[in-house]
């Protein structure tokens, strides 16, 4: 029997488990539970994390990532928010790759200097800018030079393989994993999957049985979604508690720690495991 599942079923969250949601948005979107100010974001983040027993969240920009917006405003909000909850929130900056390369690199430097150590991309929603277009190749170079992981809404498999090979020190995280892609995940050690996706019955169990637990990390697309949409497939999966611990927090914590992005309190929990 799974102790993790027993506690979750009983409504107790995750006592003694390091749990980090690898995919959270905080700004406005076309739908969902959104916040109108940084004050609301900070308060709401604590409410939702505590309601689900989560230690921390990877916080990505929201609506300011979309086409036509000034993404630097979104990064300003992100810096402000993460500064209010530095022990629990890990910021992921964002850019629009359709901007000029010098602007993109300037923004990466500015936000990285402000302490944000991770990058989120949404290029498929930004006029479908290619995942290996020149501005993103420049961004990956920056990520390699500054030891920053990159999560993206979607990369085509051939593009992800190419960039993972060209930038072997960068951890690339595909968001919205909902099953399959085993060969891709196995192809390179620096390709990972955030599992938030509307996968079919048993999708995570099959994935773990096929390639093991080390490539996966939970995410929810909260706080638009209930955080539990990402937790449920992990805790209810017919896998070991050791595997669940990895997917719930240890795997992403190691990536964040490598980048120097893991808050000290979470780092202590990681090291105590």
């Amino acid at each position: 029997m799974s102790t993790i599942l027993e506690n979750w079923q009983a409504g107790l969250g995750f006592p003694n488990v390091l749990a980090i949601d690898g995919h959270i948005h905080v700004h406005d979107w076309p739908h969902g539970a959104n916040f109108n100010s940084v004050d609301e974001m900070a308060e709401g983040a604590v409410t939702y994390m505590d309601a689900n027993g989560i230690d921390g969240c990877c916080v990505l920009s929201g609506g300011y990532m979309s086409s036509g917006c000034d993404y630097t405003v979104g990064n300003d909000i992100l810096i402000d928010l993460v500064g209010r909850l530095p022990d629990r929130l890990i910021g992921f900056l964002s850019v629009n790759p359709n901007d000029r390369e010098q602007n993109i690199l300037g923004e990466l430097k500015r936000v990285e200097r402000a302490g944000i150590r991770c990058i989120k991309l949404l290029n498929s929603y930004q006029q479908n800018y290619p995942g290996d277009g020149p501005n993103l190749m420049a961004l990956y170079r920056f990520a390699a030079d500054h030891n920053m992981p990159v999560i993206n809404h979607h990369w085509p498999a051939d593009v992800l393989l190419r960039i993972a090979e060209e930038f072997p020190t960068v951890d690339f995280i595909m968001a919205h994993y909902g099953g399959g892609a085993y060969d891709l995940l196995n192809a390179r050690p620096n390709i990972h999957a955030n599992i938030w996706g509307l996968g079919a019955l048993g999708f995570l169990e099959k994935a773990v049985q096929t390639i093991g637990p080390d490539k996966f990390m939970f995410g929810s697309d909260g706080f638009m979604n209930p955080v539990s949409v990402g937790i449920g497939p992990v805790v209810y999966a017919d896998i070991t508690d050791e595997d669940k611990r990895k997917i719930l927090g240890l795997n992403v914590a190691r990536i964040l720690d490598k980048a120097g992005a893991l808050p000290q309190e979470l780092k202590e929990k990681l090291n105590s495991k």
Binding site: G11, L198, P226
Partner: protein, 274 residues
């Protein structure tokens, strides 16, 4: 530092899944099929106490009566499963035929209908006879907007009705105020058609299940009341684990509201069938 929550135990919520497809599926990259042989195992694994089930064949192949009757044979004696018949309206204006369909359904012990509105769009003149017959018996109706299985989502139950469909649905719902209509597995991408939530706020007999892009239900339950929301997983097309804990771990809803959404709303509707 996190604080550990104290939420209701999921088993106390008595989850009653309102969207489950039974029957063998053959789709590339798709789910395990749910059959009479494995469905209790899947329900037990995910703490689901009861389920409304429809037959895959009834959704996808005409005459729908074949699949509907097959369902009755498949789940006979399985008390945790409650049959739903997939229906579409008679082609000709014929209230007697519509009444006959519903009486056959009720006579067979079926207390919920799945209206195939992705195939037969919600035009009042098209559905009026059948809806009048369903309304006479207070049969809860789950609205299925998936198109025929030659097009995406290729047989699955998830689909996103557009604004024009929602406009037609408004006329249908208002013309049959005694009929409880539940948008079932309407989900997609970054959201529903914009008028969907405004329509729910304007039409008291239109409701939503929680598969609906997994977050809208929270707004509906808080703004329009928990009576308007129904627990559902959409399995096997969606992994039920995605949705099982959503209501349980909501930080705002009361325990009473959670029990309603998780199953008591549906139980009350089924008990009200005449």
């Amino acid at each position: 530092m996190k604080s550990n929550p104290q939420m209701p135990d999921v088993r106390e919520l008595r989850l009653f899944d309102s969207c489950v497809t039974l029957g063998r599926l053959v789709r590339a990259g798709s789910a395990e099929s749910l059959t009479p042989d494995n469905i209790y195992d899947v329900m037990d694994q995910h703490d689901i106490a009861e389920a409304l089930v429809h037959e895959n064949e009834a959704r996808l192949v005409r005459p729908r009566s074949h699949g509907n009757n097959r369902l009755l044979d498949e789940i006979r004696g399985m008390d945790r499963l409650h049959p739903v018949w997939a229906l579409e309206p008679p082609k000709k204006p014929d209230s007697a035929e519509a009444r006959g369909m519903v009486e056959e359904m009720i006579g067979a012990g079926v207390r919920a209908a799945r209206l195939m509105m992705g195939v037969a769009p919600p035009l009042l003149w098209l559905w009026d006879d059948l809806l009048a017959a369903l309304e006479e018996h207070s049969v809860p109706c789950f609205l299925d907007f998936a198109p025929d299985n030659y097009r995406p989502p290729f047989g699955a139950t998830n689909a996103t009705p557009d604004a024009l469909i929602m406009d037609s649905l408004r006329d249908v719902c208002l013309a049959h105020p005694g009929l409880q209509m539940i948008l079932s597995h309407v989900s997609g991408g970054l959201g529903l058609a914009q008028p969907t939530l405004p329509l729910i706020y304007r039409v008291p007999n239109l409701h939503l299940d929680i598969t609906s892009i997994v977050d809208y239900w929270r707004e509906v339950s808080r703004e329009a009341g928990p009576e308007r929301v129904f627990f559902a997983t959409g399995m096997p097309y969606y992994d039920p684990a995605i949705l099982v804990s959503n209501v349980q771990y909501d930080p705002i809803l009361s325990a009473d509201a959670k029990r309603k959404i998780c199953g008591d709303n549906l139980r009350a509707l089924l008990e009200g069938v005449r």
